[in-house]
Structures are given as C-alpha cells and as structure tokens.
C-alpha cells in the first residue's frame, strides 16, 4: 500500500465498550481467586503448626478488614463462576443427544447447577461437623 495509512492507538480500549469492561472484570476475578487460595493455604499451614496457630488464623479472619476482603472476594467468585460456565459451551465440541444438538443454554445451566449444588454440599458438611 503506497498510501500514508493512519493507525489508531489502542490506549483505553477496554473502557470503550460494556462487553470489554465485563471481560476485564471477569479477568480481574481470577486475582481474587488467587488471593483467597493463599488465605486458605495460610490456614492449612497454621493448622499443621497446631491449635494456637490455627486459632490465630481464625482470629485474623474475623477482623473487619478480613471480613471486607471476603465480601469483595465472594462477589468476584460469583462473577468468576458464572462467567466460567457462560463460556464453557464455546470450549466444547458439539454434543448430540438423541439426534439433536445439545443447546448451549443446557450446558451453562448444568454447570451452574453443579456449582450451586457442590457449594451447598460443602456448606452443609461444614455446618454439620462444626464442634
């Protein structure tokens, strides 16, 4: 091309469209997944060290900053889980059930239901086994 073409800059690209902003939120949610995993890892490390250490970890978790972090993290976890299942059909080959293609909605619903079910199960088990 022997014409002086103009290339537009990409700065601020994700602020220009609601789809991109939702995408960036989805990507940011993985940061909170990592942070929460580190919190749980610290808990396991304290558990290994004995009762005193574990109680110290539990006490730290009860602080106002910790509660605030966990509320924010929960919000991002819900975003993370929902967006994960929302894109899951795109990563799978077509599935035929009884001669008809399985709808994306069914895959998303099944995944979300499984996540809710597993969460409820964990919640019930933890609730039932608390001392």
């Amino acid at each position: 091309m022997n014409v002086r073409t103009y290339v537009r800059p990409t700065t601020g690209w994700w602020r220009r469209n609601p789809w991109y902003r939702a995408y960036m939120l989805r990507e940011a949610s993985s940061l909170f997944v990592t942070l929460y995993a580190l919190v749980l890892l610290a808990g396991i490390a304290c558990l290994v060290q004995g009762r005193a250490a574990y109680d110290g970890w539990r006490a730290a978790l009860a602080s106002p900053w910790s509660i605030a972090f966990h509320v924010v993290a929960l919000g991002f976890f819900l975003c993370h889980a929902w967006s994960w299942f929302a894109v899951m059909p795109k990563t799978m080959p077509f599935v035929t059930v009884g001669g008809r293609r399985l709808a994306d909605r069914a895959i998303v619903a099944a995944g979300a239901a499984a996540a809710v079910g597993a969460s409820l199960l964990v919640f019930v088990v933890v609730w039932a086994t608390q001392p």
Binding site: M1, Y6, T10, N17, W19, K90, P93
Partner: protein, 251 residues
C-alpha cells in the same frame, strides 16, 4: 405514507494526501424508517458531499464490504437502520484495528494474507482423478462444519477482537474459523498441514475468549467456538508429538 425525519450522521474523515490525523464531519440526513445507515451514507455522497469514501456492494449482508463502527459497535451499515439511532444520531467510523486508507475505508491486506495461510481448501485424503467418485456426506457430517462456512469475510470480528488490536500477528477469528471449517469437514484430509498455524502463539493461543467476535458476527459463524475447540486439538497434538516424536503425521 412514510414520515421523513432528520438524523445527524457523524463520519470520520481522513484524506492521506492532506490530513495528519482523522477528523469528524457531521451531516444532517433526511430519512424514512426503512433506510439503512448505508443508504444514509449514499445520500450524503449523492447530495451533500461527494468526497465521502466508503465500501459497499450487495446491500443485503452477504458480500461483507460495508463493515464499520456505528457508535463504537462493529456493524454492517447495510444491516443497521437509521431509525434505531434517532434522535441521538450515529457516529460512523472505519473498522477498528485496521489502518485507515481514506475516510471509512480500511486496509485489509493483513487479513487477506492470514486467510491464504490457513490452507483454505479441501485437501483430498487420497489423490483423486478429476472424474473420480463424488464425495458423499451425511446431513450430520455437514452440520459439523456448516455454520463455520457461512463467513462473509466482513471483518467485524477483527474489529471486535482486542487481542487482534494488542497482538497484530494474531491470525484472528475469521481465518481460524475458516481453518476449523475445513478441519471439521469429513471430506478433508489436510488437518496436519494446518496444525502449525493452530499451534502457534499467534494461532489459537492468542485468544483469551473475550467472545465479542461471536457476538458481533452477522452470520452466526461463532468464531470464538471454532478457536477454543482447537485449543483442545492443539493440546492433544502437542502431547502426541511429545510422546511420539518421530512424526505422527496423520491427516
């Protein structure tokens, strides 16, 4: 009888011979409810400013020529209607992530090169004489690739893809969807030839499943699905070569 209203169409203008950077120019266009944005642009060119330059051809969303950004959304101007942008008006810009040649016309040569690179033809499994047996295919076999064959090369998906913006070497949604169209065709035996493109960093692995490409596609091609399914294939290919390094080959 249709009522005639007026809408402001703001067009990006760029003349490579005189302009350093693009600017905007607004036109007041009378329109009826059945008029597309393309017809609005044609009104401008015919009655208001003959220098406005834009691509179009079929006016029916099959040629892929008229892509542009309408209020920041990748759209076909022939398939978007002025009534939907009234009274706020519509800002028409060239497709994002491509260099601007003039006004609303972009340079798509990068895409054309990528299209050629994906071996976009049926590679026969065995050599066939010209008057050989016709290929046979069940409806289910055609269903496996049909939607990916509907691409009209309109480039809305490239305008939608932030990874193409940030990594210009990315092969991109339409090219990879076409690649998958041939891989998924039961008549084709060229999968091995295409794996190098698939496996490359600029192949499927530059995609982070933003998914906006599939959202803006006017033909329901779903390039996001085509690319992300091939991440599985690429992974399998990687491990196959790891375990059997002496050329698994296989079409």
């Amino acid at each position: 009888m249709q009522t005639t209203r007026t809408i402001a169409i703001e067009c990006m203008r760029y003349n490579p011979e005189t302009d350093v950077a693009p600017r905007f120019q607004s036109y007041d266009v009378p329109f009826t409810d059945d008029m597309s944005v393309l017809q609005g642009l044609q009104y401008i060119k015919d009655h208001l400013d003959g220098s406005l330059t834009f691509r179009w051809s079929c006016r029916m969303a099959i040629c892929g020529s008229c892509g542009g950004m309408l209020n920041g959304i990748p759209s076909l101007t022939c398939q978007s209607f002025l009534r939907d942008y009234h009274p706020g008006g519509v800002r028409v810009e060239p497709l994002e992530h491509f260099p601007i040649v003039r006004d609303l016309v972009i340079d798509q040569s990068d895409f054309l090169a990528k299209l050629e690179s994906v071996t976009p033809w049926l590679v026969p499994r065995e050599p066939q004489p010209p008057a050989g047996e016709p290929n046979r295919q069940t409806p289910a076999q055609m269903d496996a690739y049909y939607q990916y064959s509907q691409c009209i090369n309109c480039l809305l998906c490239y305008a939608a893809c932030p990874q193409y913006a940030l990594t210009p070497a990315f092969t991109g949604p339409a090219a990879l969807a076409l690649l998958h169209r041939y891989n998924a065709d039961s008549r084709d035996g060229g999968r091995a030839q295409r794996m190098e493109i698939v496996n490359a960093e600029e192949g499927v692995w530059s995609c982070t499943l933003v998914g906006y490409c599939s959202e803006v596609c006017p033909k329901g091609v779903d390039p996001a699905r085509a690319i992300n399914q091939n991440k599985i294939n690429s992974t399998k290919d990687y491990f196959a070569h790891l375990l059997m390094p002496r050329g698994k080959g296989g079409g």
